[in-house]
């Protein structure tokens, strides 16, 4: 069958108030770009006409400004899951305009299939190619679309010429059976292919194709700073030391690396670390730095859910796909982040902490315990099931007025049980096999910024040795509260 060609505004009108819509992609990579903007315009027009227009949005993870930004600015979002990182969307969900359900990304597809998030009315997906019988070549991000598109009543396809048809063979589309019929996900190395290269949909559900030629809206990274360079070096030195000591096997282990400037600096440091042998990656987002490591031979293979890469790196990839295809797979997030596979492969996981506490708990989501930053993303999927779970962050923020390390995290996303190692630009705290008081001393000595060490040591002494975790609830948030009141966490008086 041949599909109707639609203008973006025609496609948008297939979506109505109160519908739940599944969108393709993972980060701006592979997310819809033009139907979403038209949908925002439709919402604005509806609101101006005095009619309600808000939808439920189920994505892979964050998306581009053309989706999250446009719909948030149009106040067109009733419900959002599972992750976002757009400043306008963040405003919407921190002001009660949009309800946000923050989820472990690996669980999304299973929860959607269970029916616990209701039915999917429409799916909007970006494709590089489509056949008449509904075989869809996805683009730079997979996300949750294999599930949401399969379950949706209607599917709208954005056929985006910015992505070449030579992407064929990059994707490995696999959807497990649900329990009690689920079997082993047969991935034993990051290289293993278990599915098919294209998403196959019932062509009768595909209600139209919207043509488009817009690149992924991925920003580049900041240049390395002394701080991020030092964090990267500390991670690399620690891993080299563990490898030499035999606690990481001689073949090394696959690496998961978070997203952002710190992850970028860590990857650069691993590239430079001659003692660390070439390795594989089993990760969520494949970002710019990975391509340098593939080119240098340091990364032998990378499996992920998206290519979240800046325009110059995308040009490099798309200009040499035959070569890169030997080193890369994109999978649905249910598989890229799957606990079964994470545990089996024995990943070394490296994620960024928004805030850590002296006992080793991690806050990944909430600023001052309250405002949502982005969401937990895949950090829980990877951390909890890791072979070696590392968190890294700069020791201070806001020019030293915030210590990233506090007496007690204002929100805990990863409890101390799931955090093996904490690293800042000052050093490494290896928390394995240690009780809370020993961990606290180590973190204060090795990781805390020197200007905050005396005050955190003093906090630790408040409680004495009369409990397992020397925590004093009446004062545990005093640094946070002082920051809220004075703009600085420094110089807290514990009396």
């Amino acid at each position: 069958m041949s599909f109707a060609h639609l203008e973006p505004s025609e496609a948008a009108r297939l979506i109505r108030h109160d519908m739940t819509v599944g969108f393709s992609g993972f980060t701006p990579a592979g997310s819809p770009k033009v139907v979403s903007r038209a949908l925002a315009e439709l919402a604005i027009a509806e609101h101006e006409a005095g009619r309600p227009f808000k939808i439920g949005m189920i994505t892979g993870a964050s998306t581009g400004d053309s989706l999250d930004g446009a719909l948030a600015r149009a106040d067109a979002v009733k419900f959002r899951t599972p992750y976002q990182s757009n400043s306008d969307m963040r405003k919407a969900l921190n002001s009660g305009k949009a309800e946000f359900f923050d989820m472990h990304l690996s669980q999304l597809q299973q929860v959607v299939r269970s029916g616990a998030l209701g039915k999917i009315d429409v799916a909007v997906l970006e494709a590089a190619d489509i056949t008449e019988d509904g075989e869809i070549l996805l683009t730079s991000g997979v996300g949750s679309i294999p599930t949401t598109a399969r379950l949706a009543d209607k599917v709208i396809v954005e056929l985006n010429e910015a992505h070449p048809k030579e992407l064929q063979g990059i994707h490995d589309i696999y959807e497990p059976l649900d329990p009690p019929y689920r079997k082993c996900i047969p991935i034993n190395t990051p290289r293993d292919r278990i599915g098919v290269p294209r998403l196959k949909l019932d062509p009768k559900k595909i209600v139209g194709i919207v043509r488009n030629n817009q690149p992924d809206d991925v920003k580049g990274f900041d240049d390395l700073t002394d701080t991020t360079r030092a964090i990267g070096a500390n991670v690399a030195n620690f891993l080299a030391h563990e490898h030499k000591a035999g606690r990481i096997p001689k073949e090394f282990l696959p690496i998961q690396s978070g997203v952002g400037n710190i992850a970028n600096a860590v990857m650069a440091a691993l590239n430079d670390a001659k003692e660390i042998p070439p390795f594989e990656m089993y990760t969520e987002v494949i970002q710019d730095a990975v391509f340098d490591l593939i080119d240098s031979g340091k990364v032998k293979f990378a499996s992920g859910c998206s290519f979240t890469i800046s325009e110059p790196v995308q040009k490099r990839l798309y200009g040499d796909l035959a070569r890169y295809r030997q080193h890369l797979i994109l999978r649905p997030q249910e598989i890229s982040n799957n606990p079964e596979v994470v545990r089996r492969l024995g990943l070394i996981t490296m994620n960024t902490a928004l805030e850590a506490d002296i006992f080793g708990n991690i806050n990944s989501t909430h600023v001052l315990g309250s405002a949502m930053m982005n969401g937990i993303g895949g950090s829980g999927d990877f951390t909890r099931n890791a072979y070696l779970s590392i968190f890294a962050c700069p020791s201070v923020a806001k020019g030293g007025k915030i210590s990233a390390i506090v007496p007690l995290c204002s929100h805990v996303d990863h409890s101390e049980h799931s955090v093996a190692v904490l690293i800042t630009e000052y050093g490494v705290a290896d928390l394995r096999g240690k009780g809370p008081e020993v961990r606290a001393k180590l973190i204060i000595e090795n990781c805390v910024h020197p200007s905050y060490r005396p005050q955190l040591k003093a906090y630790l002494e408040l409680a004495g040795h009369n409990s397992h975790t020397p925590q004093t609830l009446s004062k545990a948030f005093r640094m946070h509260v002082q920051f809220q009141e004075t703009g600085s966490m420094l110089g807290v008086d514990w009396n």
Copy 2:
């Protein structure tokens, strides 16, 4: 070869100050009983002679008083991992006498193999039988002993006649390869056997056998109360409702159930719930109630790590092993709690909260954020990877002076992302697909004790709608602090 027969005191003297010792069992079930008491006596004698004597203890989980209690009272413990529940051991680790490393139980064996906990000098294990070539029939609990005994320099066997040789065939001993060579753990149903019935050790390492005839020191449960009965009924009704709605598949799903009086009440309620079809269990501890459900036909099969059962139930089991063997498997904790298997099987997990907060975070370990109760145990292994993660607890403790539901947990072990449903004797809060403010209203209305509802509603209103999670850090622990000061959480003034 034939093994030396030792008196308990002779065996104890093979263990020296500063050694790390691995012990068999999981809960009092299968834990050593006489070498441990002799070791405590040796420690006391050494201390009286002015010599240091403290060991590192690696167990499966909690143990009996003959191990944790005896060694704690003798001040013979330098380091303890991964879990305990003995009152004297609890005192030791809350007073700085023993360093306690609280771990996810599924991770212990892997972490021991990695070398991160140092070397195992001696293993002490309880056996029902042993052959001359070192094939050991374990008893009522497996725990981590397949790993610690294999890695130990020396192994001491407590041959305990209280356990019959007819236990042969109950155990499924399997130790996975470590990454990067690990393959799928081929368990697709709780019934699947993947290993061997006996633990095979190098007989040259077995330094002696100590004969013994002491039963597992397992206490029975309290009778059901109105509160635990109401919690059980709420869980059963919720599951029946989800099953009817199709969000639990028609075949039902395997159940994991925690340990203790509430778990016992829940199992009794499931037994009575006619709408719930017969099911299987993939759990950690198989406790008394499970045997009633096997006898009634409600539980078709139960896989676990131990039979933690009272004396009358053990008599029932041991008197009819040929029949019960068709319905039961005991596995090492690395397998009974394995995230790969938990996720694949799609478990409905049911664990007890020590404390919950209105946003759905759970405290499983720390009283008032500071004193260790028992440890995280398997709750993290199961909860995070569950198909449907349920936490239950009575709404109040200490006759109403403590609300189990507070503005913010004083310690978070399971973040809101890993908690699908919260249940008390008052009702059910289904948190799936809901933002923090909606969750909070639901928890307050459905789960909080009526005497605490106004005060928690008032807390929620403090922050307004200016953030994703309406948390007010300066007041978040006011209920806890008031309890510390006055002995009651009731009537907190938020101004």
